[in-house]
Amino acid sequence: MLVGARTATLERRLVAIPTTDGRPRPRVMMALARIETRKLVLHPTFLAGLSLFLLVMRVLIGNWGSNSTAISVGGVAVGLLAGTLLAANACALRARRDRMGELFGSLPAQPETRTGAILLAVLAGPVFLGVLLAVIAYPVMRAGADLRPYISVALVVQFPLTVAAFGALGVALARWVPHPAAAPVWLVAQVMTGITWVVPWIAPKQSGIRMRWHFAYLLSEIAFCASLALARDRRRPALVAAAGITLALTVTSALFQVPPGGLR
């Protein structure tokens, strides 16, 4: 009995699952992405984040002050962004949490198929909701005279991009730091350490941000997190190269998006 238990424990630690070669099949990834999208947008943390977003927006409208505009405009989406990061992270950790490795290892689909599907879900689900909410929020915010100067197409477009960046970050974190505490710790560190402007964030024009660099930053951040997450499953040279290039772009655009003298 004891020998059996010991062997089982050792096996759990030492199972090395040989993956299959070949690229993930797009149709498999798309089919999985449909399920992952549903799971992501119905995840409790995403729904909680969405609710917080709606609540903050409701409170802000009508109580708008001219101070701390940048923080407030960006801060509207805090709940949505945090919810996306945590939900994407939880979805990407699901297989590990539920000890599915052995069964998945016996199936023909490659591990990066699942990672790719979650990344597609991150793009599809929250981005769709982000767009929807932005479309709803735009006329609402325009109705408030105090808010009108801050509303722009650039601001609205940032919503889905930033949501996607947070989602991709959640997936990359899950693949490289597969611990349920990693994403919450990252989130707290992001808010508490004052590095707000070198992480994906929503910035109004009035903050003085260089908008083109900011978009470049958001897009390269998404690409970097996605390639980083996929490279964890298999280190294909192309993925490693993509991660390196997009990291360089992310750092460069993060630095250049902030004007000399800082943000207002």
Binding site: R6, T7, L32, D98
Partner: protein, 289 residues
Amino acid sequence: MMGMPTVQVIGIEKRFMRTRALDGLTFDAGAGITGLLGPNGAGKTTLLRMMATVLAPDVGELRLLGWDPRKADERLAIRRRLGYMPQEPGFHRSFTAFEFVDYIAILKEMVDRRARHDEVRRVLSLLGLEAVRDRKIKALSGGMRRRVALGQALLGDPDLLVLDEPTAGLDPEQRLRFREIVSERSADRTVILSTHQTEDVAALCPRVVVMDEGRTLFDGTPRELADVARGRVWLAGERAANAHLSWRTGEGMHRNIGDAPAGAELVQPTVEDGYLLLVGHRAFEDEAA
């Protein structure tokens, strides 16, 4: 031998640090159900993981459906024709039974949505799970979860079905249903069934392999396994001193297994008697350890 061997295990060895899980194991299996019996730690699960292509042997050769799982393209070909039910199948607990089996079906590269859903419904119906298909897995009983795990293994009617203790936790009716389902598929398919249930082996398997300490102790039919104990099982009013194993039956008599004394009331041995005679001593050794 039942037709051409679809599983060939040749001198396989596997170590986990200082523990030797498999020690030069050799056997082959063709179409039909091959039962694997053995005590805990015998190496059954390690062997099944190798057959499921999730673990590679340190030494020896393994061929599945004529392919070598060490080669990536052949491993993929095996996985496309394999159904595997692990001993401890994980479950996405927040998924419904249908969603979970559907998810696995996608990972088995069933991409046509309508055909896939039909197949998922077919296996759930086969296992009597239609009524709970929209219930979350975390709300299902242990037996129902086992059936969901078996369902995903049956997707696509695989050529090679590897089942690690599939009947653990099933009630008698479910076990009978399981026997019915598996035996129907065994005519032209290879089924490798690891179990502690000797009744399942006796009822289902034309062939049984008994493993212990990573080696083959016995390879034959269930009848031959029972015959190992022929003339060595007897009933007596009390535990016999020279019995290796002895237990009091429901009728109040002691069923003794070992070297029967002269004039003992010998009884027809079962598969379990033969199995216990081969490996029964391990239970006491493990307890002493």
